[in-house]
């Protein structure tokens, strides 16, 4: 496989007396789909928050494309090309679906104040490009007909898809999905499966996934990390993880 896109070593996160993540190591290579699984409260989302700069990890190193990012604020990490979704969907609910996608392209757009005030040709061009890009992704996730609907009024599955589209318009290198299948029916889950595979295939994005839906995880992942009580328990291909006795113990009990 190709080189490491993201590499975390000795990652620790302590909240007061609670060691939520302990000596976690993780790497994602370009073009891989990697999953993190583990029981509730195992620290998966905390790892996510550390990787995306929402928490400053109390220990350890994170390298993104060779650059240390563990001290950077979240928005800077996002600008490097690491974007994420949230466990409980976080859309701009009062804004329309299309506006959600335009906001996400903020840093790619012509943000000059005067250019916008006087509608210069370059401003129009950049707005048009943004709209087209948004239209492309709306089509991809099947939300074109809802473009001018308020995002908060969409059905739950549609909101999930919009959130992924909103990440993708930023042209990320690493897409981090926090339980994208939560609350979806089996039908929608298999659509999600196809969407994620397609994102990797046609847009070259690597994916880090937290998910409880084992069918989706086993189906889609190249590698899986299993976390229990903040500590890495096992890692490997879906096959290896499935047959690992420790994993079975952690999930099913003794």
């Amino acid at each position: 496989m190709s080189q490491c896109l993201l590499e975390a070593s000795d990652l620790s996160m302590r909240f007061g007396g609670l060691l939520a993540v302990d000596q976690m190591a993780l790497n994602i290579r370009t073009g891989e789909i990697v999953s993190m699984i583990g029981p509730n409260g195992a620290g998966k989302t905390t790892v996510f928050n550390c990787l995306t700069g929402f928490y400053q990890p109390t220990g350890g190193k994170i390298l993104f494309k060779g650059q240390a990012v563990e001290k950077l604020p979240g928005f800077k990490i996002a600008r490097l090309g690491v974007v994420r979704t949230f466990q409980n969907v976080r859309l701009f609910k009062a804004m329309t679906v299309l506006e959600n996608l335009l906001v996400a392209q903020h840093r790619h757009l012509n943000t000059g104040l005067l250019a916008g005030l006087f509608k210069t040709p370059s401003f129009r061009k950049s707005e048009k490009a943004a709209t087209e890009r948004a239209a492309f992704w709306l089509d991809k996730v099947g939300l074109t007909e809802f473009a001018n609907r308020e995002a908060g009024n969409l059905a739950y599955g549609q909101q999930r898809r919009l959130e992924i589209a909103r990440c993708m318009v930023t042209d990320p290198e690493l897409l981090m999905l926090d339980e994208p299948a939560a609350g979806l029916n089996p039908n929608e889950t298999s659509e999600l499966d196809e969407l994620i595979s397609d994102l990797r295939k046609s847009h070259g994005v690597s994916v880090l996934l937290i998910e409880h839906d084992m069918k989706l995880v086993m189906d889609i992942s190249d590698r899986i990390y299993v976390i229990n009580q903040g500590r890495p328990l096992a890692s490997g291909t879906p096959e290896e993880v499935r047959n690992n006795p420790e994993v079975i113990k952690a999930y099913l009990g003794e």
Partner: protein
């Protein structure tokens, strides 16, 4: 249901309680008054007429509470038949020529109207326009970016005092001070924003409230420069390309407006000129904010109001966005302040008390957060209504409160809630349809 009504249809106990509470409050607040007689405090009783009003009020409350159940039944019947009509402007989005025509007519009407009405009315309209400008500016901060700013009047004061002081000490004229006042207010917004914008919600509100008060107290106490509570007077009115609107030119070599055009002097010209200036300022404000709304920065403000964590995850810098909203909002207050100083000719810290901030905020909330037409309507209502309600004098604030309560019950989203801009996905694609649909059907 009928059984229930038969046994307890009349609510004796709540009725007595309500009437009792009313009497207690009314007697203390309206019935007696402390006055000083020489060195002593004396309790004065109100005139018998007022007692009659208090008693009849208590009786009214008692009766309403007593017959509340039948009354609510009656009311819900009435309400069911004709629900309160919604104020809504017919959509003009798809009819651009008509929209432009209507806007031109409205502007022409606004400019011609003052020549046919009394001076007082024009003056009042000018005041309303100042509040429109303030409301639109605060709307950026509160309505769009969702930052509760209770010290907005501080920036208004900065703008007003910038003009007054620069004119007094350096003799700068209105037009250059208009820009400087806006820039000064923006600068204050920027400087205040840095430490403050890490705070959220209530905390932000308290700090901005403090800021507004600091500005006012500073102006009040820095007597050497600002004149303290005496304020600054004799601030010159704006000029029209150097033409003054006074009877005689104040400066050597200047020609007053009426002499230049060879017409008789009338103080009305000045009032109308100020009014037209205010209209132009409001139009500029409207245009700028309308553009901002359709620019990345305006969308980012709203996104920040909706969810700042999602903003960060998409690479938007929340601090920079908040700061821009705060700065731009403050700049509009600065413009309004400069104009206010020029119109009044006299300013003192008393014009910039907290109640002003509250009124501007009320305009934004009343009009509908983020809605520009709503804010304009609310600003006009809030400035014109008190003039009509002059007879009520001290009860004006009471009516104001009542209006706010009723608004919150019936239209919590404001008079004219903000409408989302309807963006067409393929507005330019009609003429270039070949390249229009990138990779359609690729999934």
């Amino acid at each position: 249901m009928n059984n229930y009504n038969a046994t307890s249809g009349l609510r004796w106990f709540p009725a007595f309680m309500a009437a009792g509470v009313l009497l207690l409050l009314a007697v203390l607040m309206l019935g007696v008054q402390l006055t000083t007689e020489n060195t002593q405090l004396v309790v004065d009783f109100a005139a018998s007429e007022r007692w009659a009003w208090i008693v009849s009020g208590a009786v009214f409350v008692f009766l309403v509470q007593l017959f509340r159940d039948p009354l609510t039944a009656l009311w819900s019947g009435v309400k069911g038949h004709n629900a309160i009509p919604k104020i809504s402007v017919p959509s003009l989005d798809d009819n651009k020529p008509l929209k432009r025509l209507l806007i031109s007519f409205a502007i022409a009407g606004l400019l011609i109207w003052p020549f046919f009405v009394s001076r007082g009315a024009v003056d009042l309209a000018t005041l309303a326009l100042i509040y429109v400008m303030l409301g639109l500016g605060l709307n950026v901060v509160v309505g769009l970016a969702g930052l509760l700013d209770l010290g907005y009047v501080g920036f208004y004061a900065v703008g007003a005092y910038s003009y007054a002081l620069l004119n007094q000490y350096f003799g700068l004229d209105f037009w250059s001070c208009l820009l400087i006042g806006g820039a000064m207010a923006a600068l204050f917004g920027f400087i205040l924003g840095f430490p403050v914008l890490r705070l959220r919600g209530d905390y932000l509100a308290i700090v901005t409230l403090g800021f507004g008060e600091i500005i006012r107290i500073l102006l009040n106490n820095w007597t050497a420069i600002t004149g303290g509570p005496n304020g600054i007077s004799q601030i010159p009115k704006p000029t029209l390309f150097g033409l003054e609107f006074t009877r005689r030119a104040k400066e050597e070599g200047n020609v007053p407006f009426h002499e230049f055009f060879g017409i008789d002097y009338s103080s009305g010209y000045k009032v109308i000129f100020l009014y037209i200036l205010a209209v132009l300022l409001v139009l500029v404000t409207l245009y700028v904010i309308n553009r901002l709304l359709r620019m990345p920065i305006g969308r980012a403000w709203e996104a920040l109001r909706e969810d700042d964590i999602a903003c960060r995850s998409l690479g938007l810098n929340p601090t920079a966005i908040k700061l821009s909203a705060f700065t731009i909002g403050a700049a509009f207050a600065g413009f309004a302040g400069t104009f206010f100083a020029a119109r009044q000719g006299f300013i003192s810290p008393e014009s910039f008390t907290f109640i002003e901030s509250a009124i501007i905020l009320a305009i934004v909330v009343l009009g509908g957060m983020g809605s520009q037409m709503g804010v304009i309507l609310a600003a006009v209502i809030m400035t014109v209504l008190p003039e009509f309600a002059r007879e009520f004098q001290e009860y004006r604030m009471l009516m104001f409160g009542l209006m706010m309560v009723l608004m919150m019950i019936w239209r919590p989203e404001g008079l004219m809630p903000m409408k989302r801009p309807h963006l067409s996905l393929n507005e330019d694609q009609e003429d270039e349809s070949a390249s229009g649909q990138p990779a359609a059907g690729s999934v």
